[in-house]
């Protein structure tokens, strides 16, 4: 029997299932920026007045769990299907952040090899003032196991 995508959506979308605190290490931000080929001082120099984490670093901040604790097993090993980052305000290294995670979308695509199910987890990052500074989406792709 196929997994019912609409049922999963009605049960799990938009419900926070994880909350995690982060303190961003400036040295790690510099390493990520430089290894990515970044040259701008606002990403590579902690002394720069606009020093901030690049999107790739924000994408590395992941919640403690990938899915809600009671989410059903769908099939094989999840693959990393991609990441998206929206920057609402500069993410300052050294500051404390809180990431709140929910399932943002569930959809499927069918092909010759069967059905793939896409799960999009969204982490919204807030600074100490409660300002929403960034949104990070992680797409997991799972090949559905034939029942």
């Amino acid at each position: 029997m196929q997994i019912d995508i609409e049922e999963l959506k009605s049960k799990y979308l938009d419900l926070e299932f994880d909350r995690k605190d982060f303190t961003i290490d400036p040295e790690k931000v510099v390493t990520v920026a430089k290894m990515s080929g970044e040259t701008l001082p606002q990403f590579c120099d902690p002394a720069h007045p606009e020093f901030q984490a690049p999107p790739a670093f924000i994408a590395s901040l992941v919640s403690g769990r990938h899915l809600p604790v009671d989410f059903p097993r769908i099939g094989g090993v999840p693959m990393d299907g991609g990441k998206a980052v929206t920057v609402h305000a500069p993410v300052r290294p050294g500051a404390s952040l809180t990431g709140k995670t929910h399932l943002h979308d569930i959809y499927d695509k069918s092909g010759r090899s069967g059905r793939m199910i896409f799960l999009v987890s969204r982490m919204e990052l807030f600074n100490e003032q409660g300002e929403h500074v960034a949104t990070s989406d992680s797409r997991q792709v799972i090949r559905e196991k034939q029942q």
């Binding site: 040295e27 790690k28 390493t31 990520v32 920026a33 290894m35 990515s36 080929g37 970044e38 040259t39 701008l40 990403f43 690049p54 999107p55 790739a56 670093f57 994408a59 590395s60 990393d80 299907g81 991609g82 990441k83 998206a84 980052v85 929206t86 920057v87 989406d137 797409r139």
Partner: protein
């Protein structure tokens, strides 16, 4: 190609100057360690042999490192560009120590909102697309 300094200098359809990022094992290892992806991942970003034992063709460039390559290219094109949104799809692995090329093309220019949209691609030496995506970038007004 001179660096873009404001929205009026952006032309629809123009390709950004491609660049070849550093995909060396030393770079992927440093990146993976900085983001905490060396624990419990069996050396897939740091060791070719360990990655092959996991079934990969070799050590991998972390997916988000490709995102970093793409946004770095945007900043080379315009040091005043703010990447507002970037979305990357990991279609296939990018292998460490193998060359790849980063490219981008401008697909939309909104002069009123000072926003530019780009299509982004990471290809390997066989010209196969490994990562693709889009970005939305804010530039200063003219």
């Amino acid at each position: 190609m001179s660096a873009i300094s404001n929205i009026s200098e952006v032309e629809f359809g123009v390709e950004l100057e491609p660049f070849e990022p550093d995909t060396s094992l030393a770079a992927t290892s440093a990146f993976a360690e900085a983001v905490g992806w060396t624990d419990g991942r069996g050396g897939r970003f740091t060791d070719h042999e360990a990655a092959r034992k996991e079934g990969f063709p070799g050590a991998l460039v972390p997916g988000i490192m490709n995102m970093g390559f793409l946004t770095s290219m945007i900043h080379r094109w315009s040091p005043v560009a703010e990447v507002v949104h970037v979305d990357t799809v990991f279609r296939a692995p990018v292998i460490a120590d193998e060359p790849c090329t980063i490219s981008a093309v401008i697909t939309d220019v909104d002069e009123d909102e000072c926003l530019v949209e780009l299509d982004l691609t990471v290809k390997n030496a066989k010209d196969e697309t490994r990562v693709f995506g889009t970005a939305k970038v804010r530039l200063p007004a003219a």
